[in-house]
C-alpha cells in the first residue's frame, strides 16, 4: 500500500489537518455529501471522550434519556429566534415509503407523502420541551437534569472532517429549573465541567467566556463557551452551554406550581459538545509526523511490537510480549502488533501516524534484559523499562508525563500567541503576521463587530469570565467608546 505523505504545518495547515486524519485512518468520505464515516481508530477517540464526559455528567446529578430523531416541522417555528437563526438548514422527511420504479430502481411512493413533514433534529430543544410540558407539573418535578447522546443533522455547505459535517455525534444536556438563579448556576456549572474535561482529559487549555449577541445560540438569553487555540493561532469553539431563560418554556407552555402555589414558567439550560472535539484534539496536538493523542483518550495507549530476525528467537520474543500484554491489559488500552510479514519499521511508522503514546519494542536482547525498549510518540531518546513489580507504575508515569507535557506545551503556545493590544491597528498588523488571541477592551456592538470581521476576518470569540473586571474605565479598542467588556478576538473555525 502506498504511504501518503503528510504536508508540513508550515506549508499548508488545512492540508496538514486532512493529511493527519487520512494517515491516522480516522475518517473516510462517505457517498453522502458532507457526511463522514468515522473509522474505528477515530471512533475509539470518541468512545474515550464519551466515557469520560458521561461519568462527569452523572457525578453532577444528570441522567441519560433518548428523544426521537424526527421532529414535526411545526415545532421548529414555535420559538421564533430559534427557527430564524438556526433551524432552517436541515434534512426534511416528506415520504415514508419507496416503490419500484419502471426500468429498475426505487423512488418515493407519492401515496406515502406525510401530512406534515418531519425534520431530522438539528438540536432537540423543541421536542424535549414539548415532552417536558407533559412531565413537569410541580416544583417537586424540578430540577430535571437530562442528557442525551445522539446524532444530529445540519445541512452544511462547506464541510471539514470532525469540525463541520452535515451529520455529527454529540451530547445535548437539557435541564429545567424552578428559578433563574438555579438555571444560570447549572449553565455555568456545565461550562466548568467542559473546561475541566478539556484541560484534564484532552490536554487543551480553554478559555471560558460569554458569547457576544452575534454568536449567541438562537433562542438563548446567554451563551457560554469554551474557546481553544489551535497550533496556527486560530480559535476553535469546543463546547457551549446556554442559559435559555424562559424562552422555550413559554414557546411550549411549560409551567409548574411553585411551593407557594403560584403557576410559573420553567427556567432552562442546554449544553453540548460534539465529535468536533476530536478535531480540536487533532489540531491541538499533532505534528508533521502525524497524529499525537493525549493518553487519556488514545484508543491504544501502548503498542507492543515484537521483533526477531532468526526463527529460533521467535518463540521467546512472542512469549515475553504476550506476558507483557497480559500484565498491562487490566490497566491500559494496549495492543500487541503480531502481524507477520510486516517489518518493524513499517509498524513503527503506522503507530506513529495513529498517535499511539507509547511503543514498546521487544527483541531478543530486551527479553534477555527482562525489559521493553520504549519510544514515546512525543519524542526523546528511547529507553528501557524493566518488567518487574514496578512495571505498571512506570508505564503509568510515562503516560501521565506525556499527558502533562501536551497540556504544558498547549498552554505555552497559547500564552505566546495571546496579545493584549489597545488599538485596532495593532491587532490588524499582528494578525497579518501571525493569528492569535487578542484580549481587548470592547464596546459591544454587532455593527462594529461585523466591520472588523469584514476587514480582518477576526470575530469576538468570547468575553473571558475572568477578565471582565479589567474593562472598567477603558475605551473600546476599535470605536473609542466606553468599553462594555473585555473581549477576545481571533480568527476561528
Amino acid at each position: 500500500m502506498a504511504q501518503q505523505g503528510i504536508t508540513p504545518r508550515e506549508k499548508d495547515y488545512s492540508q496538514w489537518y486532512l493529511d493527519v486524519i487520512a494517515a491516522g485512518e480516522l475518517v473516510d468520505q462517505s457517498p453522502v455529501r458532507g457526511c463522514m464515516v468515522i473509522k474505528p481508530h477515530g471512533y475509539g477517540i470518541w468512545e474515550a471522550i464519551q466515557a469520560d464526559l458521561d461519568a462527569r455528567f452523572k457525578a453532577t446529578g444528570h441522567v441519560n434519556a433518548y428523544f426521537p430523531l424526527l421532529i414535526p416541522e411545526s415545532f421548529l417555528s414555535k420559538e421564533a429566534d430559534h427557527v430564524e437563526g438556526f433551524a432552517k438548514e436541515c434534512a426534511v422527511v416528506t415520504h415514508h415509503r419507496l416503490r419500484s420504479k419502471e426500468g429498475g430502481g426505487v423512488e418515493p411512493d407519492p401515496a406515502s407523502k406525510l401530512e406534515e413533514p418531519l425534520i431530522i433534529r438539528p438540536t432537540s430543544e423543541t421536542i424535549i420541551w414539548h415532552m417536558y410540558g407533559k412531565w413537569i407539573k410541580s416544583y417537586r418535578d424540578l430540577p430535571l437534569l437530562i442528557n442525551q447522546w445522539a446524532n444530529v443533522v445540519r445541512w452544511e455547505m462547506r464541510t471539514r472532517p470532525f469540525l463541520r459535517t452535515t451529520e455529527f455525534l454529540w451530547q445535548e444536556g437539557h435541564t429545567a429549573h424552578a428559578t433563574k438563579d438555579e438555571a444560570i448556576e447549572e449553565a455555568t456549572r456545565m461550562l466548568g465541567v467542559y473546561r475541566d474535561f478539556a484541560r484534564d482529559t484532552l490536554a487543551l487549555p480553554v478559555i471560558p467566556g460569554i458569547k457576544s449577541a452575534t454568536e449567541r445560540f438562537a433562542g438563548a438569553v446567554e451563551t457560554y463557551t469554551i474557546e481553544a487555540m489551535m497550533q496556527n493561532g486560530w480559535a476553535l469553539q469546543a463546547g457551549t452551554s446556554h442559559f435559555l431563560g424562559q424562552n422555550f418554556a413559554k414557546a411550549f407552555d411549560v409551567t409548574f406550581q411553585s411551593a407557594e402555589g403560584s403557576l410559573e414558567h420553567v427556567w432552562a439550560t442546554s449544553w453540548g459538545v460534539s465529535t468536533r472535539l476530536v478535531g480540536a484534539v487533532i489540531m491541538g496536538h499533532s505534528d508533521d509526523t502525524g497524529l499525537v493523542l493525549p493518553p487519556k483518550i488514545a484508543p491504544i495507549q501502548v503498542v507492543l511490537v515484537p521483533i526477531w530476525r532468526k526463527d529460533e528467537d521467535k518463540a521467546a520474543v512472542m512469549d515475553f510480549a504476550q506476558a507483557a500484554l497480559e500484565s498491562l491489559q487490566p490497566h491500559f488500552r494496549v495492543h500487541l502488533d503480531d502481524r507477520e510479514k510486516m517489518k518493524p519499521g513499517a509498524k513503527y511508522f503506522e503507530w506513529e501516524r495513529k498517535g499511539v503514546p507509547l511503543r514498546f519494542e521487544i527483541g531478543p536482547r530486551d527479553v534477555a534484559n527482562n525489559a521493553v525498549f520504549c519510544a514515546k510518540r512525543t519524542g526523546d531518546k528511547k529507553f528501557g523499562i524493566t518488567v518487574d513489580d514496578d512495571f505498571i507504575d512506570r508505564v503509568r508515569t510515562e503516560l501521565n508525563s506525556i499527558q502533562q507535557g501536551l497540556l504544558d506545551a498547549a498552554i505555552a503556545r497559547r500564552e505566546a500567541n495571546t496579545h493584549t493590544v489597545s488599538d485596532y491597528a495593532a491587532m490588524k498588523a499582528q494578525m497579518a503576521i501571525a493569528p492569535g488571541f487578542f484580549l481587548v477592551p470592547w464596546h459591544d456592538d454587532p455593527v462594529t463587530e461585523r466591520e472588523i470581521k469584514d476587514d480582518c476576518k477576526a470575530t469576538v470569540r468570547c468575553f473571558p469570565l475572568d477578565a471582565q473586571d479589567q474593562a472598567e474605565g477603558q475605551a473600546c479598542f476599535y470605536s473609542g467608546r466606553p468599553a462594555t467588556h473585555m473581549a477576545i478576538f481571533a480568527r476561528a473555525y
Copy 2:
C-alpha cells in the same frame, strides 16, 4: 399524583405490558407517530445492556465505528432481495432546507429539493458494503470485524413500546471474511455471544436456531436467531445473526486478492440486537406489581430508604444511610431516596414498580442494630443484613440469588410450556388452551407454513440447533412428508 393501576397479566397481557412500562416510567409516547421517548429509567436499562454487550464484542475482536445515518436511495436497490423484502418502508429525505411560509410557520423550500432522495438507514448493509469496497483490497485486510451502535428507522404501521417502533436503537455488526467457512463461524459465534448474554445478563433462556426461508433476513443466505419465551407462552425474537454469503460483496463489487493471487468476492455476516431486548426483559420477568429487573441490568440495584418519625432520630438515620450508601457505591448501582415530605410506603411502591431488586429500609431500630432491613423485589420475608465487613459480599450474594432465581423461573416456565407433539391437531388444540413452544418434525415449505399461520396464528420460530438430529426418519407433523427439520412453532411478537 394519581397512581395508575396495573392490569393483571391474566386479565389482559397486552395491557399489563403497557401498564408496567407506564408505572415503571420507562417510556413516553412522542408526538411523532410510532416513535417513543425513552425516559431515564428505561434508558438506564439500555445503557447496562450496551456496556455488557460492548465488552463481549470487544473480547471477540470487534471494534466500533460509525457510518452515516443517510443512505442514497439508489444503494437500496443494489441487492435485489434486500430491497424487495425489507427496505421499502422507510423515511425518505427529499429537501435540505425550510423556508418561512406566508401567514407563519415553515415549509420545505422547493429550491432545496435533492437530486437524489436520501433514506434514513433501516439497516446499514448497503452503505457499509459500499465503504468496504474502498477498504478491502487484499486478504491482509481481512477479516474486518466492525460493529456500530446507532439509531435506525423502519416505518411501522402498528407499534408497541420497545418491541416495535418506527425509530429504535440497536447495534449492527458487519464483518468481512476471506472464506465461507470463516463467515459462517463468525455468524454462529455471535449467535453464541447473544445466547450467553441473554442467559447470563438478561436471565432469559433462549433457543438458538435457524430461521425458515420465510423469516430469513432479506439478502441473507442463512439467518440464525435466538428465541425467547414470554410469560404468556408467546415467542419473541431477541436477536439475529446472518450469514450473507457473497450477496452484498457482489452487489457492491467488493473483491480481494487472495494469498494465492486470485481475485475473489468477500464473504459477509451481519448481526444485531436492539432496544427490543428491553421489551423482552419486561415481558419475561415482570409481575402484576410492576417491573422486575435482573440485577445485572437494573439501573438501580439497591435503593436505600431512610425512615424516621421523630425529628431527633433523623440525623442518626441519615448519617447511617449515607455511610451505607458510600460503602455500597463502589460496588453497585445504588440510590439513596432522601426525598422529604414523602411517606416510606409511597417510596416502596415507586421502587417496586421500577423493579429495583433490593430495597434497604433504614429506621432508628436498624441503626441501633447496625443493620439494614432488606426487601427483595422478587418476594420472600424481609430480613436484616448487618453492616459489617461482610456487608458487600452479602449484598452481592442477594443480588446473585435474584439473578439466578429469575433465570431458573424462566427456564421452568419455558419447560412447562414447551410441548412435543407429533400431529398438527394436537398443537392446534393445545394452542387454543395456552400458547407455548411446539417442537415438531417439519417438512420445510413456505406454502404449508402459511397455511398454519392462517389457521392458528403460529409460525416457525426456528429450527433449534441442538434438535436437528431428531428429524431423521420422522414424518412432518402437518403434511406427513419426510421431515427436513425439527421446528419450533409458536405465536410470536
